[in-house]
Amino acid sequence: MGYGIYDGLVDFLLQLVAGILTPLIKTIGGVLGLIGLAEPEQFLHFEVEFQPSIRSTLIDTLEMTTILIFLIVNTIMLIWFERKLVARMMARRGPTFIDFNYGHFFGRTWKFGLLQNIAEFLKFFSKEDIVPEKADKFPFNIGYFAFVVAPPFILGGLLPLGGSAVVADPAVGFLLIFALFSLYPVGVLITGWSSNNKYSLIGAFRSAAQLISYEIPLIFSVGAVVIVTNSFSLVDIAAQQTLTPFHLPFAILMPIGFIVFMVALAAETERIPFDIPEAEAELVMGWRTELTGFRYMMSMATEYFILLIGAFIGVSIFWAGSYLPFIPREWIDNLPLLPNIIFIVKLWLFIFLFIWVRGALPRVRVDQLLNIGWKRLIPLAVLNIIVVVILFISNPSLFGVY
């Protein structure tokens, strides 16, 4: 496990520290021995050694930092990508160029509006932080950061970045990701309710109803995958899809499950056919009506963050991670960086689907949404499990089990 890129660096650093500390301590020991405070023999063969846990902790820390920076940069780029793409669908141009214009901070104008989101982040941070007077202050301040913003940031270490590059791969795998996902409605409910606004209240209750009812089809739809792979690990599931006939991914082998997963993920991330908790036509901004400044920015960024994490899960489970159909696994694994590049390209293709849907569809009504969830998606997910189990029992090699 791990990315393997920091091992050498960490070893070098530890050797460096040991190389400095060993003579230093030997000298100190010698001096202490001279003045009779210690036995000089104790320090003759002294070597500074680090426990293996220190080494692995350092590596994990560096790797977590890497994936978090990767996620944050990709989130910013995702927002930019969505704005440009949706603008093109609407026959607009979107952000074209952005110039900080404080004595030409960057020396020149940045093209394609690439700095738009960074400029907006700066703007949001300069806004006044308003807590509504009648709001319940403690939950309003705490609940939202604890349950909405924090969980996605914890998830970083569980996300594979192509191949077997993942910081941690616990046995519970993506169940842990879904468990952390399900903290989201709690934070939404707390924020919406405590902000003491009727739009926020309705939005928060809608969000809670929506997220709870779509968690079930989301997990049911990947149930079939777990049955055939006998694993919760995203890395193992991605690797299993290279053993199938023609290396076909699960999206083709179990299409019903894939469609259910996509629809449920759209609802989980509150994207536009299912963005009823923040239906701006009737609820202004839904549960985040009272959020201002950096609070609002963080809530929006979290939404895109969750979409990105959903894309990680979807690509790993249904699109075979960094592997391609018709191409043997070894060809990809043996080339450096190729798995990671394939994975990131797939990630952006996956996100493109969601942005396309956003450009094309109106939002559904809350009762229709619950009907779709309970009356359509859950039976379909169960049907998917039944079909896959029958196929699996009759011909296990179809799913890469021999």
């Binding site: 009727k198 309705i202 109106p362 939002r363 009504r365």
Partner: protein, 362 residues
Amino acid sequence: MSEQMYIHMGPQHPVNHGLWTLKVRTAGEKVIDSEIMIGYIFRMIEKMAESRPYDVFQPLADRLCYVSAMSWEGTYIMAIEKLLDLEVSKRVQYMRVILLELQRIASHFTWLSAYAGDLGVLTMLVIPYREREYVLDILEHVTGSRMMYNFFRPGGLKHDFPKGFLEDARRLTYYLDKKIHEYKDMCDDSKVFMMRSKKVGILSKANAFDLGTTGPVLRASGVQGDLRKIEPYLVYDELDFKIPVQKAGDCYARFQIRMEEMQQSTQIIRQALDQIPKEGEISKKAPRKLPKGEIYFRTEDPRGEAGYYIVGNDDRIPYRIKIRSPAYNNLYASAHLLKGAKVADIPPIVASMDLCMGEIDR
């Protein structure tokens, strides 16, 4: 949530396109009752009309509705002409028909984008404005102004069509035909759009009569109530066009009516461009004073029956002017439809009425 609560939607809220308040009593997601509060942009337009010469009021008639200014000033001028007993030439009548129908298309495009935006489909919120802009471009080419035209005159029009207008307008109608068809298909093929529009806000035929609705709202409830057919003014009786009527009475029916009306309007424009006489008096001297007497004149606005009741008193200043706004009645019909609807149905129901606060508050 069995507890009931009031939600104020307005005066500044995405659901109201304009300044008004919708006070909704809800139980959870269900609307129990609603109350409409208007008056935020009351400008005393009727009193303004009664305190200045009738020809000076004409540019203010444009300001009644910023989406269909042409039809409001046209109705006013035609009412004045009826009071003055002025005849206008055939060419002017055809020109007026062309301008009014172009305005109808522009207004319906605005409606389409507002309705789609309220449903949450942001692409349809933006794209129809492109076609509307072409219509406004051609109206600007004729009148010199994008929205507040001030082009009608008692006894005619301000000036003739500019050179090359007829060809431009014909080309535009073919382009619009294509685009209207495209938008209709885009919405009809969208399952979510149908889920949100069909069987939402059903207005029965009897209620449509009782609530005094007119225009597309009335025609969506199964009544052919188009003044262009019932009470032809200008040269509408010489033109061949159909009035779309739907029976369902829901938001989707109102959507269909408006889309078909736009298609009919392009046909009307094409016919008018074919039949327009080459020669004709463009403007005529009108009397300075309004004669004694009273008149009620109504036309088919994009929103329904737009009417002016004018009392003349042998003076340049009219004694009384009363304006009949179709959107006013349609707005109060929407309050009736909201009873028992879901909170999420408020935007489509209200938007399907095609409200314009300028003419409601006056």
